[in-house]
Amino acid sequence: MKFGVVIFPGSNCDHDALYAVERNLGEQAVGIWHQSEDLEGCDVIVLPGGFSYGDHLRAGAISRFSPVMGAVRRFADSGGLVMGICNGFQVLVESHLLPGALIHNRGLKFSCKTVLLRTETLNSPFTSLCDPSQPLEVPIAHGEGCYFADDATLDLLEREDRIAFRYVDGNGEATEAANPNGSARNIAGVLSEGRNVMGLMPHPERAADPAMGSQDGLLIFRSVVSSFVAAR
């Protein structure tokens, strides 16, 4: 399976995603420059973390106009798998490939720490191998990661089973204390209507290697591979 990791000016988790896919997952990965409209035959596109365009204006607000995003949109529209991590999630909501918005964290401070994520649905190519009873230990590192949407949208997401992950505590409960950034209904990741686009604020690529402590993030990457193989 071939992963394409988009490189915007200011992307800084691009190397990490490439490393996790190639070395920890054992799949092929290529970097795709933001000015390219050629996705090089990739089977899944990853929009990595970082500060594309320095978060100027709003996180992700300028990147959505990059030439590569036109190609990504067409790819997603035709059912291609797209995963946005952190800044990549911000780019996806700014591009309207995912609903809602990501606003400044509650408390207005950047926050880097390890959180627990409960898988909310197994019905997606990104979560199929996860276990809802076993929260994933995955780091976050963001300043604008508070997921926001109006109640109607949130209700719709819940009704359509499009919430991928929620922030939970050690008992698996989505409590206020377990919510690191004030996200609506503790939402950490959401799916598109077609379930082929997912954005999440936590960094699964940082939890893919035994030397980094947790390997729980690898489950997300493995789900992608497994779904892809099953679909062939």
Partner: protein
């Protein structure tokens, strides 16, 4: 409309009458105002090290793994497998007091450029911060504001740039209220045969300016950093530069990519003294000259004079010399990254810095006159200024209840409490290399390409140095090396940031001289050569100076990429062994030495006496013992005993564990307060599986180092102490954790 050079103008440039006479004599004429500006920044303390240079020469700077020593943008060590690491520490104290957020961001930005200008990709940052007490009725509000700004600034820059801030220290002492210290350390990696230097070579080769446009920000910042502050320091805000980490990230990628073309012959960042420093230093290093025309320099504002352009400290700029005929290869890379790149001049053969503006010469000075021939002073010094008395209350008599209360108070003290509020604002994991991050003794970052790990530690101790600058500095070096030993590494190279007051005061100069002597002696003993660093003097406001604060940065290499054991106990039933014994140094002036402890500062609320006693040979043996134990995989957790002493070290080892406590029991004749809270160095607390005890003891015996079993870990959230077979006290780790974990936030929200 040239301003005439009056004595007043000379004084405003921070030059003495003697220095100005030297200029007149050398030039044989009056300098232009642009020349005066150029000379004044190059001869400032910040750029010339004129007060410290004669003493810095005494530091050890060579070793088998040292590829590049002091004098370049950063020092470089060999880390094996054809790879090298560049690292350095630098201060941004003065700007951070005036404008905390921007002062800190540009401090980080500057040290990162020092690393990647040599061709290395930065992979780790650490910060050593010192502020005034947060609860001071008069200065607390200002200090809290400075903390918010500085921490936000360090985080903002590193996070956006994409380099992890993997550790550091934050200390709060009265002397830093009007002079916070912001020292930033950065480290980068590259192939050992791909090092770039800041040098101009090849007559006729193009001099190319890349990066941000030049604005009026930071004009004369280097001079500002070479003066004391008065009440008007707020008026110096325009001297502080403004950082743009996004631009720096683009500059990093563009520079590293342009270096790959092979067309770059020399490159230097524009930091302090901006275009002035980069031009004359690049020329000075090779004896070549550089001629530039300022009208070609990309400018942000329309009305900039040659003086402004030469002295601007606008950030995120680089100057490079390319091979004539291959300019386009470089321009193409910078265009890809959306950055300015302009040919602004050429390399000449006359050793001059010749600055033109629209073809007209506005400054013409010998490079060597600005660099090597800058004034050097052997400033007079007496005995070090001592802010605290030699004698004080001594070691207090305490009982179990007193010891428990002291422990509860110490874990919540600003210097000791959790720094989570700080480091969670830093992305300490980006690049997925951080195998041991903030909250441990040392930071460990793996180097995927080389299959090794780099170990880093920053340490300073102003309070110890105030009581004895030489011993204090040696203790800082020792602690850094001890931190490296806790993960099994030995020092390969060191960098230092010397933060002191006004060197024109002989008793302050004496502090500097003694501290450098201590660093030299200790670094020689630990085989940790100094590869470069920074000197920040004039850290005084309204005549009150800081504690003398040398901050050491130490780097070591591990031959693997495994996750090291940290400070945290792994579960109940492990044996606790104190390598080094209960109180090395015994009772050598214990009543005096206790006066430097956190206990004295936080609980007795007095500081007096001397720093803890350090026996270098013993310290080296203790470190060798622990390195071996760790390398043999015998330890489950490793934590050096430092601030707050043994009791605090035990508590800290429980904190990150889930419901793990400890039963401590030992026999001793030493006064209770000293054995629990004295900060004697050369002690490292291990938790080990009981079956490993004989191996651990043998390793220690072979080096004549005591290894004392002081108890065991338990699967319950409490710590109990028994001394001489009598129960002393019990304390819940949950309640200790709660006050340790939340103390800083509570102090900041006062």
């Amino acid at each position: 409309m040239m301003p005439t050079i009056s004595p007043q103008v000379v004084k405003e440039h921070g030059l003495t009458t003697e220095e100005y006479d030297r200029i007149l004599e050398r030039l044989g004429r009056e300098p232009t105002i642009t020349e005066l500006g150029i000379i004044s920044v190059m001869w400032s303390e910040h750029c010339s090290y004129k007060s410290s240079r004669v003493h810095l020469k005494k530091l050890p700077t060579t070793g088998e793994k040292i590829l590049v020593g002091p004098g370049e943008n950063a020092g470089i060590i060999d880390i094996g497998g054809g790879w090298a690491a560049a690292f350095k520490i630098e201060s941004h104290n003065h700007p951070s007091f005036i404008e905390p957020f921007q002062g800190a961001t540009t401090g980080v930005g500057g040290i990162l450029r020092d690393i990647f200008t040599m061709g290395a990709r930065p992979i780790a940052v650490m910060d050593s911060l010192r502020f005034g007490p947060l609860d001071d009725p008069k200065t607390g509000v200002k200090s809290r504001h400075i903390v918010e700004g500085v921490v936000g600034g360090v985080g903002n820059y590193g996070n956006c740039f994409g380099v992890p801030t993997v550790g550091g220290e934050a200390i709060f002492e009265p002397g830093y209220s009007g002079n916070p210290l912001v020292n930033a350390f950065a480290l980068g990696i590259f192939r050992a045969d791909q090092i770039f230097f800041g040098q101009a070579s090849g007559v006729g080769n193009p001099v190319i300016y890349v990066g941000a446009k030049t604005g009026k920000d930071g004009i004369k910042g280097a001079s500002m950093a070479s003066e004391e502050f008065g009440e008007d320091s707020e008026a110096k805000r325009p001297n502080v530069q403004v950082g743009d980490p996004f631009l720096e990230k683009l500059l990093l990628e563009a520079c590293l990519e342009a270096m790959q073309t092979g067309a770059i012959l020399g490159i230097q960042d524009m930091g302090a003294a901006g275009l002035t420093c980069s031009t004359c230093e690049m020329g000075g290093r090779t004896g070549a000259g550089i001629q530039i025309d300022l009208s070609l320099v990309p400018q942000r504002e329309s009305d900039m004079t040659p003086y402004d352009i030469m002295l601007s400290e606008s950030q995120e700029r680089m100057l490079l010399v390319a091979e004539r005929g291959r300019e386009d290869e470089i321009f193409r890379v910078f265009k890809k990254w959306g950055l300015d790149a302009e040919e602004v001049g050429t390399v000449t053969d006359d050793g001059m810095l010749r600055v033109k503006n629209h073809g007209e010469v506005v400054a013409e000075l010998q490079n060597s006159f600005l660099t090597d021939d800058a004034p050097i002073y052997s400033r007079p010094y007496t005995t070090p200024y001592r802010p605290h008395p030699l004698d004080g209350p001594g070691v207090p008599q305490i009982d179990g209840a007193g010891a428990k209360a002291a422990l509860e108070q110490l874990v919540a003290a600003a210097d000791i409490c959790s720094k989570r509020w700080i480091y969670e604002q830093y992305d300490y994991q980006v690049r997925t290399n951080t195998t041991l991050g903030p909250g441990h003794d040392a930071a460990v970052v793996r180097v995927k390409a080389a299959g090794v790990s780099l170990v880093m530690s920053l340490d300073g101790n102003g309070r110890y140095c105030a009581l004895d600058p030489k011993e204090g500095a040696m203790l800082a070096v020792a602690e850094c090396c001890r931190n490296l030993a806790t993960v099994g590494a030995e020092p390969v190279g060191a960098t230092n940031c010397l933060n002191f007051g006004n060197p024109e005061k002989p008793e302050i100069m004496a502090q500097l001289v003694a501290a450098i002597e201590g660093i030299g002696e200790a670094c020689t003993a630990f085989k940790a050569p100094i590869t470069g660093g920074n000197v920040s003097l004039y850290n005084e406001t309204l005549g009150t100076g800081i504690y003398p604060t040398p901050v050491m940065g130490m780097v070591g290499v591990l031959p693997h990429m495994n996750r090291p054991a940290g400070i945290t106990f792994q579960g109940g039933g492990s044996m606790l062994v104190l390598i080094g014994g209960l109180l090395p140094g015994g009772d050598d002036q214990l009543d005096r030495r206790f006066g430097s402890s956190q206990y004295a500062k936080q609980i007795t609320k007095q500081v007096w006496g001397l720093p803890p006693a350090l026996d270098l040979d013993f310290e080296i043996a203790v470190q060798a013992t622990v390195r071996k134990i760790v390398q043999d995989g015998l330890a489950e957790s490793v934590h050096d005993v430092s601030d707050g002493g043994l009791a605090v070290a035990i508590a800290e080892s429980c904190f990150a564990a889930k419901r793990v406590g400890a039963e401590i029991s030992f026999e001793t004749e030493i006064p209770l307060a000293a054995v629990l809270f004295h900060e004697s160095p050369s002690r490292i607390l291990l938790s080990i599986d009981g079956s490993k005890l004989s191996s651990v003891e043998r390793t220690a015996q072979e080096r004549n180092v005591p290894a004392v079993v002081i108890g065991q870990t338990i699967d319950a959230p409490q710590i109990s102490f028994r001394v001489n077979d009598k129960p002393l006290f019990e304390v819940s780790t949950d309640s200790l954790f709660e006050s340790w974990d939340t103390a800083l936030v509570r102090m900041l929200n006062k």
